[in-house]
């Protein structure tokens, strides 16, 4: 099938304003959008810049806006998005070049919620046990691959980049509701700050955008409830 690929191009060092380059390509319906970008880079324009690593939906490098919504290019099939495909960088983070955005503000917010396991008790001989039910409590939020598709789909984040954003809250949720972790109160107090969960307006763009199908708005609602009630059930 013939596909028209319209790609956002911008180099802040040399271009005054962004432009869109159009490529007419031959593609298989089961090709992924990433395959099209690889084809453009290999055969048409080697200067096209985008991130990719594993190319199998695990590393989270190739998050971008495809036909107006955030997706991973490596998980998006041509047959699912049509024959005219517009590819643009994620919104709300500065464009470094073409489809590559500066992820530092995203990771800065991520680090603020202390996304690591905290337990000051002496480690047991084997491992810190928990029941299958306790493990299931935060299972959904362990799936995050930090692709930023959720945070950069958030209308609140677009308007004000100081909001922690859905991804940071999801990763806080993963530890807050982990029965083995001891820093839930500290994380909840961080998320109760001005830039935290109360900025969420539940537009659930994040949930729609998540390539791992994490129920993000639900996780944020659980964190809000934990802040209000002080309970982690």
């Amino acid at each position: 099938m013939k596909v028209t690929l319209k790609v956002f191009r911008y180099n802040p060092e040399t271009d005054q304003r962004p432009r869109y380059d159009i490529f007419h390509l031959e593609a298989d319906p089961n090709d992924r959008v990433l395959d099209l970008l690889e084809k453009v880079k290999a055969e048409h324009d080697g200067s096209l810049a985008y991130r990719r690593s594993c190319a199998h939906g695990v590393c989270g490098s190739d998050g971008m806006r495809i036909n107006g919504r955030n997706r991973l290019a490596c998980k998006t099939l041509v047959k699912d998005v049509g024959t005219t495909i517009v590819v643009e960088p994620m919104l709300g983070l500065p464009v470094q070049k073409d489809l590559i955005v500066d992820m530092e503000p995203f990771f800065e917010a991520y680090r603020k919620v202390m996304p690591w396991f905290i337990n000051n008790d002496p480690p047991p001989e084997k491992e810190r046990l928990q029941t299958p039910e306790e493990r299931a409590r935060f299972d959904d939020t362990t799936k995050c691959i930090l692709c930023a598709c959720c945070t950069t789909s958030c209308p609140v984040f677009w308007a004000d980049g100081s909001y922690f954003g859905p991804a940071a809250i999801v990763n806080a949720h993963r530890f807050i509701f982990d029965s083995r972790d001891q820093a839930a109160a500290e994380r909840l107090s961080i998320l109760a700050q001005e830039e935290g969960v109360w900025r969420c307006r539940t537009s659930f763009n994040c949930t729609e955008a998540c390539p791992r199908e994490i129920q993000i708005t639900k996780a944020i609602a659980e964190v809000k409830r934990a802040i209000i009630t002080g309970r982690l059930d």
Binding site: R17, P18, R69, F204, N205, E208, A221
Partner: protein, 136 residues
């Protein structure tokens, strides 16, 4: 462009169902606020400038204003129903913020607001026709 006005670009070009409710809630809210401000001003004319009050009422009876009022009624219904949806989800049923339920709830809210609005729109539309086109 993309890097300079992300909010503007996102609100106008990002495609998601949740975004539809987010935007409609804000647009209808601003519309209601605008009407409320106008209404407070024209009512204040009764005290501050009685000669302007009748003029203001005449403007209310013009066709564009009456059509605007029909949409104002929908704005009130939509803003109210959507607000109730968010309150129910946030306070009582956070588990409903799951993707499929949340997406469906947006469409249901839209349908409900239109259903509630139709009788009012019919009555108000009939009033426009009677007052302006049938010599009523």
């Amino acid at each position: 462009m993309a890097s300079r006005h992300p909010a503007l670009e996102g609100y106008t070009r990002y495609r998601a169902v949740g975004q539809l409710a987010f935007l409609l809630h804000r647009i209808t809210g601003l519309g209601i606020l605008l009407f409320l401000v106008i209404h407070i001003i024209d009512t204040s004319f009764v005290y501050f400038a009685p000669e302007l009050y009748d003029e203001a009422i005449q403007i209310y009876r013009s066709i564009p204003f009456m059509i605007g009022e029909i949409f104002l009624v929908w704005s009130v219904f939509y803003h109210g129903f959507n607000g109730i949806r968010i309150i129910i989800f946030d306070l009582w049923k956070p588990e409903w913020w799951e993707k499929d339920i949340a997406v469906k709830s947006v469409y249901w809210t839209l349908a409900l607001s239109i259903l509630a609005w139709l009788p009012a729109a019919y009555i108000m539309g009939r009033a426009i026709i009677e007052n302006h086109f049938m010599g009523g």
